[in-house]
């Protein structure tokens, strides 16, 4: 009886009307396969993250003992690595740098991408179509192609080893995509609303400020999140432009300063990765749907 119930509970939930029909064996097998599939994907996806967390809290004697079970603690868990990270390294500085850089990137991105998105979506500019596609295509020009000339631009601006270098450079990859996203958002606001404001005696800029911007708050918020997390994830430009310990963002600092010659501080490395990485993952999740909508907007209609 209990087994039957268990099997029935594995079957897909159906509406009341269909529930009377007996559950077929095929449906149960499909359900079991589905659950197995979910399990495999989840385990593969989170195993490295899980292992990072375990390593973070493992004492060195436990970590570097081949007879110990690696997937759980044999000795007592410790905060030693986290303490070391905050007390003996520049980790706190790197975290602050990362967030400052990301904030700067967000400000520049919003100030450029929102007006541009509006102009391209709404003002019937001659050449708006090719221009907007051109902007999107610059998203496909990767850092790997630009870092050599940009290193010269940055040194010409006397910004080498300065977090401002990254604040200036990061918008190059956030602006194109965010402009594209904002175009999409502005297009969903009915033109009539804006027109009504214009007729009521607002000029264009007042209409934008009082009607369009409040209505696109969700869109603006998601490009802010997008720019913020992308800036936190970046590595290549930081590697090329920043060398001093003091000005590194966390992605660079953790991987360069916690490896001294051949000595890797594995506990500290994993601790740094988890502390810096998980908040980004949580943020990312909030705006993920908008992000996907933006990428797929070009292909589904």
């Amino acid at each position: 009886m209990a087994v039957n119930e268990a099997i029935a509970s594995l079957a897909p939930k159906q509406d009341t009307a269909q529930r009377v029909a007996p559950v077929s064996a095929g449906a149960v097998i499909r359900r079991i396969l589905l659950l197995l599939g979910i399990l495999v994907f989840v385990v593969v996806a989170i195993f490295p993250v899980y292992y990072m967390i375990i390593t973070t809290f493992k004492a060195n004697d436990d970590l570097y003992n081949l007879t110990h079970f690696p997937l759980w603690f044999t000795d007592k868990a410790t905060f030693g690595h986290v303490q070391y990270l905050f007390q003996k390294t520049e980790f706190r500085r790197w975290l602050i740098n990362s967030y400052l850089i990301a904030l700067g990137t967000v400000v520049i991105t919003v100030l450029t991408a929102v007006p541009a998105g509006y102009a391209l979506a709404r003002l019937n500019l001659p050449g708006a179509g090719p221009l907007s596609i051109g902007i999107f295509l610059t998203y496909l020009v990767p850092p790997s192609l630009l870092f050599i000339p940009l290193s010269q631009v940055v040194s010409r601006l006397h910004l080498i080893d300065n977090i401002w270098a990254l604040v200036v450079i990061y918008p190059t990859f956030t602006i194109p995509f965010c402009t594209w996203l904002m175009m999409g958002f502005f297009k969903t606001i009915p033109f009539d609303i804006e027109e009504a404001a214009l007729i009521d005696g607002c000029n264009r800029i007042q209409a934008i400020r009082r009607v369009v911007l409040p209505l696109s708050r969700a869109g603006i918020f998601s490009i802010m999140m997008f720019a913020f997390t992308l800036a936190l994830q970046e590595f290549i430009y930081a590697l090329v432009f920043i060398h001093g310990k003091e000005s590194k963002p966390v992605t660079l600092g953790v991987v360069t300063d916690l490896i001294r010659g051949d000595v890797f501080y594995w506990g500290e490395l994993m601790a740094g990765g988890i502390i810096a990485g998980l908040p980004v993952a949580i943020l990312y999740n909030f705006f993920l749907d908008d992000f996907i909508a933006g990428i797929t907007a070009g292909s589904v209609k």
């Binding site: 589905l34 599939g37 979910i38 994907f41 989840v42 593969v44 996806a45 989170i46 490295p48 993250v49 990072m52 390593t55 690696p70 100030l111 450029t112 541009a116 509006y118 003002l123 019937n124 500019l125 610059t138 496909l140 020009v141 850092p143 790997s144 192609l145 630009l146 870092f147 050599i148 000339p149 290193s151 010269q152 631009v153 918008p171 190059t172 602006i175 009539d192 007729i199 264009r204 994830q233 590595f235 953790v254 991987v255 890797f264 490395l269 994993m270 990765g273 810096a276 990485g277 998980l278 980004v280 993952a281 993920l288 909508a293 990428i295 797929t296 070009g298 292909s299 589904v300 209609k301």
Partner: protein, 311 residues
């Protein structure tokens, strides 16, 4: 409403000034973004073109001989490491894109099904994509450790790995290539999945229902409705994937630095070594420009796809 339309018409007809003013405003609004993109994407791109035709170095921006024509490019084609890098880049990006698409499609169909806790499952499977890769790559490096590799431990205890000392993941040419591919796939398949999922959920259920009523079995439904409808989106996902993999620097640089030997050297890491680490700007820029024709090709295909949709 009728009044509104009339008013709008009148204002457009009555004064050209309104249209003109909104055009000026439009270009003004567009200007900051355009200046940014021109100044920090287009100009640097042409700067790279210029560098690639000279023997410029970090200490001597004009080079000793200055303009040297295509010498950097012809030199590269004879360079063993460069040729290895080109070959590796193609293998690396193609294999990862294909494996990614297969795993991504599977995951997308799984996420399409109804089950409890889907939100949490989605969050968990997306972790590889949402945590900065520069940080998680250290976890992989730790899992690939020559002595303490947990993957070897797991492999030996499940009797999948039989070699006495396990696999030297990053120490052997073939396994090093397999390792960077594995990490890239781990990082990117969730992304392929969510893109595809967006495509799948955009297919109106009533179309599928109508086909069911008309007697189409699931195979016909897939072949005639679902596949054609998600093909463009699958294609866009694949395109992004190829572009990102083709130009990837972070994974390879942090995991193997192109080693052992030049077994995992790719164009981006080689460009970094030549152009930044040893300061040969001209030659380094030439390496990166080999990325461009392929990116250009991608863009053309992408544009085609966009245009097809609009007709």
């Amino acid at each position: 409403m009728a009044i509104a339309i009339g008013a709008r018409k009148r204002s457009h007809v009555s004064s050209r000034g309104v249209v003109f003013r909104s055009r000026v405003l439009g270009y003004l609004l567009l200007a900051p973004a355009m200046i940014y993109i021109i100044g920090l994407v287009a100009v640097p791109f042409f700067l790279a073109l210029k560098f690639s035709l000279t023997d410029a170095t970090v200490s001597n921006l004009n080079g000793v001989r200055g303009f040297i024509g295509l010498e950097n490019f012809t030199g590269l084609l004879k360079d063993q490491t460069f040729r290895a890098a080109l070959r590796n880049t193609i293998i690396y990006s193609l294999v990862t894109a294909v494996v990614n698409s297969i795993l991504g499609t599977t995951l997308a169909f799984i996420l399409l099904a109804k089950f409890r806790g889907k939100k949490i499952v989605r969050y968990l499977v997306l972790l590889p994509w949402t945590i900065p890769i520069a940080l998680t790559i250290q976890a992989w490096k730790w899992m690939f450790h020559p002595q303490y590799s947990v993957l070897n431990w797991l492999g030996k205890h499940t009797h999948i790995i039989t070699a006495q000392y396990g696999i030297q993941w990053l120490g052997q040419p073939k396994s090093a290539m397999a390792s960077i591919i594995m990490v890239n796939v781990w990082r990117n398949f969730p992304f392929s999945a969510v893109i595809l999922l967006a495509g799948l959920t955009s297919i109106p259920q009533d179309i599928i229902d109508a086909a069911k009523i008309d007697g189409a079995n699931w195979f016909t439904r897939y072949r005639k409705i679902i596949v054609p409808m998600i093909a463009p989106i699958l294609f866009i996902g694949l395109l992004f994937n190829l572009v990102f993999n083709f130009t990837d620097l972070t994974i390879v640089f942090l995991l193997t630095q192109g080693g052992p030997g030049n077994a995992t050297e790719v164009l981006a890491t080689y460009a970094f070594k030549v152009g930044i680490a040893s300061g040969q700007l001209g030659r380094g820029a030439a390496v990166t420009l080999f990325l461009f024709p392929i990116l250009f090709l991608f863009s053309i295909v992408f544009l085609r796809q966009l245009r097809k949709r609009e007709i």
